[in-house]
Each structure stands twice: as C-alpha cells, then as structure tokens.
C-alpha cells in the first residue's frame, strides 16, 4: 500500500480539516472551555457533532453499526484534532475503548457501542498505575466474587475519567504483577459502587482521574474478552492508542510549526523579517524535515496496524517515540522563535507546548518507547 492517502482518505482529510478548523478551533473549543473552567475539559456539543460526522464510530465494525474504517482513517481525524488542539474524548473513546470493545462479547458490544456511536456517551481507559506508563505490570486486582468480580486497587492518568460513562479497566485476575497472563479487561460503568475519582486538571486543560476501586462489585458480563486472557486485548488497545496519539502529535507538531513559520514571515527585528535570518531558517528547515519524517512513520505504523502486520507493534513504538521527539522540538522552537509573546497566554503557541507535554506522556513517553524499540529488536 503506498504511503499516501487514497481518494477516500483524501476526502476524509479535507472534511476533517474543515470541520476541526471551524467547529474544533482553539478559540471555539480549547479556550472556550478552559476559560470557563469547564469540569469536563471538552464540549459535549462537539462530541455530538463528531457523531454526526461519523467520527465516533469510525473504528467500529459495520456489523456493529460503525463505519468499519481503519487506523489510517482514525489518524486522519486525530491529526486534525492535534493541529487544532481540539479537546475531545475521541482518542480515549473512539480509538482506545472502541478497539477494546471489538474484542467484547455481543452483549458487551450491544451495551456500549450504540451510545458511543451516537455520541451519547464517552468512555475512558484505565491502564497506568503510578506516574509512568508501565503496562507490563498490572497490580490492580479483580477477584472472583459470586458470579462476578470484586475490583480493588488504584489507577492513574485516566483521561476524562470523571466525565466517562464507562471505563475500560485492565486488572489482574491471576498471577503476579509482572505476568503476561492473568490480565482481564473490564467495562466498568460510571455508577459502580466503590469507585471514586480524584479528578485533576492537567497542564493542557484536559481532565484526568486518579481512580480508587474499593471493592467494586462487577457482573461477569463486565468482562471484555476472555478472563485471564486480556493481555492481547490490552496490547491491541494500546497499539491503536499509541499510533493514534502519534497522529495527534503529528498534528500538534504541524500546527506549531505552521504557526511559527508564519510568524517568521511577519515579525520584524533589526530591520528585517526574522525569517531572513539564516540561523532561524536552518532550524526551521531542520524542523520541517523532522516533522515530515514523523508523519511518514505514523502513516506507516497505521497501515501496518490495519494490515495486521507483525511489525505493527515495533513501528507503533517507533512512531510514538519519533513523534514525541519531533513534536517536542516543534513546540520548543515555536515558543523560542516567538520570543517574549510566545510566553504569553494570549498567543496560541504555548497551548501547543502544553498539549504536547500531556500527549507525550500518554501511553508511554519517548524514553519508554525507545527502550521498547530496543527490547523488541532483541537488545
């Protein structure tokens, strides 16, 4: 498959670009909700519009009422989300949770998918335990209890957790913390007794929860996939999420770069447009080169994922690590080249820096994924 968009994908990209540039713009969404100190951190109205656009269920199989599209298509939407810093539960709900739910029973799907597709509900995923992403270890426990399970433990960095009607929780049903087997995924409803959120605002104005499960009783039908066999589902979900967040990161990098290159053409100092200074030109050109590369590997990773390739896991980590490096460079160069006004809240470039930071951390930072590239390569 060639590494550029086909006609349908090109059309989707145009649609997504126009929609996000208007409805999802920084002014209309990020600043709007942030300045109102919105407890959700995103707009439910926009989420309904996502549904109307067909975005919410794009990864859901057609048999289940979705569009049956692939990661490449989801990434197209995510790149536009990144460019516009659009706060939205799309990544958590329509990429991560939706990928997990693919592996659920018909009952599970029937319970959760229609409301997702309709934009009526928002879902979150709870994987991390602690400050860093280390999904190899799952300590959160789900013990058999009657016909169901009893969930105990803590999860961190559950993005939009408190606003979500359902949370996909990775828990341990057998074995010890670092075992590959013995992990099970659960769809935990918002109103489950014994679940409490400590919801905090993050640097990018999104909201995330520390969740405590204090003996939460779950029905057997909360299980997604097989009991003790959830590692594969978890991996599939993480892969989709990593490639998806790489795409969003590419959007952040491009948004920051475009804004900065524009600024270089306008701002005058020393009697010149600052874009005439060769030192800045070379840095901008280096950045351009890096952003192109990051974008290429992200498309590649999405294609491999859609093709079910064995290399998808490696390339997902490559993409996540590369994008993190490059988006970090883009926002740092962006703020520096904007000079003083880049430090002000009034200008948007700082918002890119904030979003990039949160996105870098989500599902593993560049260091985690570079380490993973080494491990998967056998060294």
């Amino acid at each position: 498959m060639p590494l550029y968009y086909d006609d349908d994908q090109t059309m989707l990209a145009e649609t997504a670009s126009q929609f996000m540039g208007e409805e999802g713009s920084i002014k209309n969404q990020l600043r709007h909700w942030r300045d109102r100190n919105c407890k959700d951190g995103f707009g439910h109205g926009l989420w309904k519009q996502f549904a109307e656009m067909g975005f919410t269920g794009m990864l859901v199989d057609e048999d289940d009422g979705g569009l049956g599209m692939g990661q490449v298509e989801a990434n197209i939407v995510l790149e536009e989300i990144g460019r516009n810093l659009t706060p939205s539960p799309f990544l958590s709900s329509s990429v991560l949770a939706a990928t997990a739910l693919k592996h659920g029973s018909n009952d599970v799907k029937g319970r959760w998918l229609p409301d997702l597709i309709a934009g009526e509900m928002v879902y979150a995923v709870a994987v991390d335990e602690g400050r860093k992403h280390r999904p190899e270890r799952i300590a959160c426990k789900a013990e058999r209890s009657g016909n169901g399970f009893r969930l105990s433990g803590k999860k961190d960095f559950v993005v939009y957790g408190a606003s979500s009607e359902m949370i996909v929780v990775a828990a341990r049903t057998s074995g010890s913390d670092s075992d590959t087997d013995g992990v099970t995924l659960f769809a935990v409803p918002q109103d489950a007794a014994g679940m409490s959120h400590d919801s905090v605002r993050l640097v990018d104005s999104s909201m995330a929860s520390h969740i405590t499960f204090d003996g939460v009783e779950l029905d057997g039908d909360a299980v997604i996939g097989e009991v003790d066999g959830g590692r594969d589902v978890l991996n599939a979900m993480l892969m989709a999420g990593r490639v998806g967040s790489a795409a969003e990161g590419v959007g952040v990098a491009r948004g920051a770069m475009d804004m900065t290159v524009d600024y270089l053409k306008q701002r005058k100092q020393f009697g010149k447009v600052i874009g005439e200074f060769q030192a800045l030109q070379h840095r901008a050109s280096h950045l351009y080169s890096e952003v192109e590369i990051a974008r290429a590997v992200t498309i590649k990773a999405a294609q491999l994922l859609d093709a079910g390739s064995e290399k998808a896991d490696l390339m997902a980590s490559v993409a996540k690590a590369k994008v993190a490096k490059v988006a970090g460079l883009a926002v740092r160069e962006g703020v520096q080249m904007h000079g003083g006004i880049g430090m002000t809240d009034e200008y948007d470039i700082g918002l890119y820096m904030k979003r990039d930071r949160a996105l870098q951390e989500f599902l593993g930072d560049q260091y985690y994924h570079a380490g993973r590239v080494a491990e998967l390569s056998g060294y």
Partner: protein, 395 residues
Amino acid sequence: MSDSDLEAFRAETRAWLDAHCPPEMREPVRDEDDIYWGGRNASFKNDAQKAWFEACRDKGYTVPAWPKDYGGAGLTPAQAKVLREEMSRIGARPPLSSFGIWMLGPALLHFGTEGQKQRFLNEIARGEIRWCQGYSEPGSGSDLVSLQTFGEDKGDHWVVNGQKIWTSYADKADWIFCLVRTDKANKYQGITFMLYDMASEGVSTKPILLISGNSPFCETFFDDVSVPKSYGEDVPAYVGEVNRGWDVAKYLLGHEREMISGADGGDRTSAIGAALTRANGEIDPVLRAELAQFDVDALAYSAMGEKFLDEIKVGKAHPAQPNMMKYAGTELNKRRHELIMAAGGSHALEWESEDTGGGKPSRNWLRTKANSIEGGTSEVMLNVISKRILDLPGA
C-alpha cells in the same frame, strides 16, 4: 585588608546577624509575599520581616557595598563576600529586593550626578521608592534600539507617548527608569534614559498572563505623560546625557547578563538524576541515560560557573563571557525542566492539584522557557559571541 581584619569582620558579622536576623527570616522564601520589595505602598507580612528589614536598612545592609553616603555600608568587596557567606550560612533572606538595587543603582553609581546619587540611591537603599524597568516594546524585543516610545521636547519637559512590555511589577512600582526616544533621526544616539513617577497622569499598566500562569510582568502605556527634565538642582530626570541613554542601557544589559549568568548557580547546575530517581521511583533505562547525559553537562557547567566567577574576580574573564554563560546556563535549565517533567510523568502534568503545590513542576517547566528569551535571547547571545569573542565578520 588583612586576613585577620577580615576574620574579625566575620566574627562581628556573625554576632550582628545572631542579634538581628529573626528565626523566621532564616527560612527559605516560599511565597511571593515572603519577599519585601519596599516602596510607597509597601506593607510587611509580619513583624519579623519588618524588624529584619529595618535592622539592615539602619546598618546599610540593604546595599552593603554601596557608599555610606548613599545608604550603603561601604563594605569592601572582600567584606561584602564575607557578609554574603555568613547570610548564606544561616539561610538569611534578603532584607529588601528591588530593581533599584539590581539595575538602577549600578547605573546611577556609574553614570549618575552627585545630586541623583544622593536622592535616588538613598531612597532605594531605604526601600522608600520601588522602581520598575521600561525597556522592551512590543515591536522591539531583541532589537531593543528600534524602540518607538517617544518623548516630545517641550522645553522644560517631555511629553511621552508609547508602550512598554515586560515591565516587571509595573503595577506595583512607584517610579520607572525608562528608555525613551528623543531623537527620531538618530537610532542609537536618540534615546534618553528617563526617570519618572508611575503616578504621573497618563501612565497605565496591564498585567500579562503567562503560559505558566500569573506573572509579575505588565504592559505599560504612556498617554501624553509629562516628564519634567529636572527634579531639582543637579537632579536631572535622566541618567547620563540626553540622547545618550543607549550607553546606559548597554551597560545595564551587560550587568544583567552577568547577574543572570552568575545567579542561581546552585539550582540550575546541580545534577538531577539521583534526586529524580529518588522522588519518582524507578526510571526507564533510556531516560536514565538522558539523565546521566544531563548530569554530565550540568556538573561540567557548574565547574564553568565556578571558573567564570573566579575569573571575573580577578578581571581575567572575557568581557563578553557573560553572554556565553547566559546562553549555556539557560539552555541547560530548560533541558533540566524537560527532564523533571519526564521523570515526574503524569504526576508532573497536574496543573492545580494540591499534591503538586498547584502545578509547580509544570508551571516551573513552562516558566523556564522564558530563560532563553528574557535578558537577551539565546540567538542574540550567540550573535554576541560570534562578534565579540570569535571575531567573525559581519556578526
């Protein structure tokens, strides 16, 4: 001064500090209001702050190295160093912080008339007048000399119109030292370093919200502000000569870079790998390697800081070396905070939580991004090194 005299001075200083520095003033500064800035509208946070300030003021220790005539204690450099060491030993807070002490004072000591020194330096030393600095303008950041704020000559006074940006604490300051264009035909020799009251009619300020949150910075607007040319005999309303304010500004920029490059050494140059590992638990191996690489650079830079200060003391440092220190130090500090964020993971992302002291890691991280912009951008520093140290053509 002999070593034994110096040791006598040290003993004396210890005794004086023992007697006059209250225990509360030996605690690290935690909040903005732990810092005393003085000024017409100043108020003390508590009695200890007041007592400590007044003791120092009366002793000349708000500006220990300034002459006694101007409110200082007239200490020699060696004595001043002993005082710094002894204050640092007990963790004593500065009794008074002010741009008057750091910026205007040195300019007046170098360029001021006797009348200006008598009046303004004493006011500064006694914490009576709080000053702010009017340099940058929205269109004149790195290219400061292109500034547009204009003072129209009306004989015995100027009428100033224009806008300044990045005036720290302009909303709290009593007076401003301000670069104002007084000759539009002459770029470098058409700027006057004016001093005037922020309470003058036509002055207004607006705080600037930074990406890291609230800030001391303001935009400051001058709308037909009338500035008299003199405040009395031998007290002109400008430093140096009319239209020669750029010399004063350059002198102060050099001074500022030297201060920045020397300042905060301890904090920004220390190794961080061990502390971050302790604070955050296990570290991924690639991040550990990055921390190790950073620690190499940070420890090396700290040796450079030491060397630089040693050389400054004996006049061996290249006069443009502060630019190199500022460049390297601020770039390092930005990297340091990137790593603090990485090691802190999702915890460090929190913006308002109690657990992070209201988002300290992320706000500090964002704040460091200004390090390489304020006081001369990294790009300007590199230009200066190219020109003045490497002697590259056309730099």
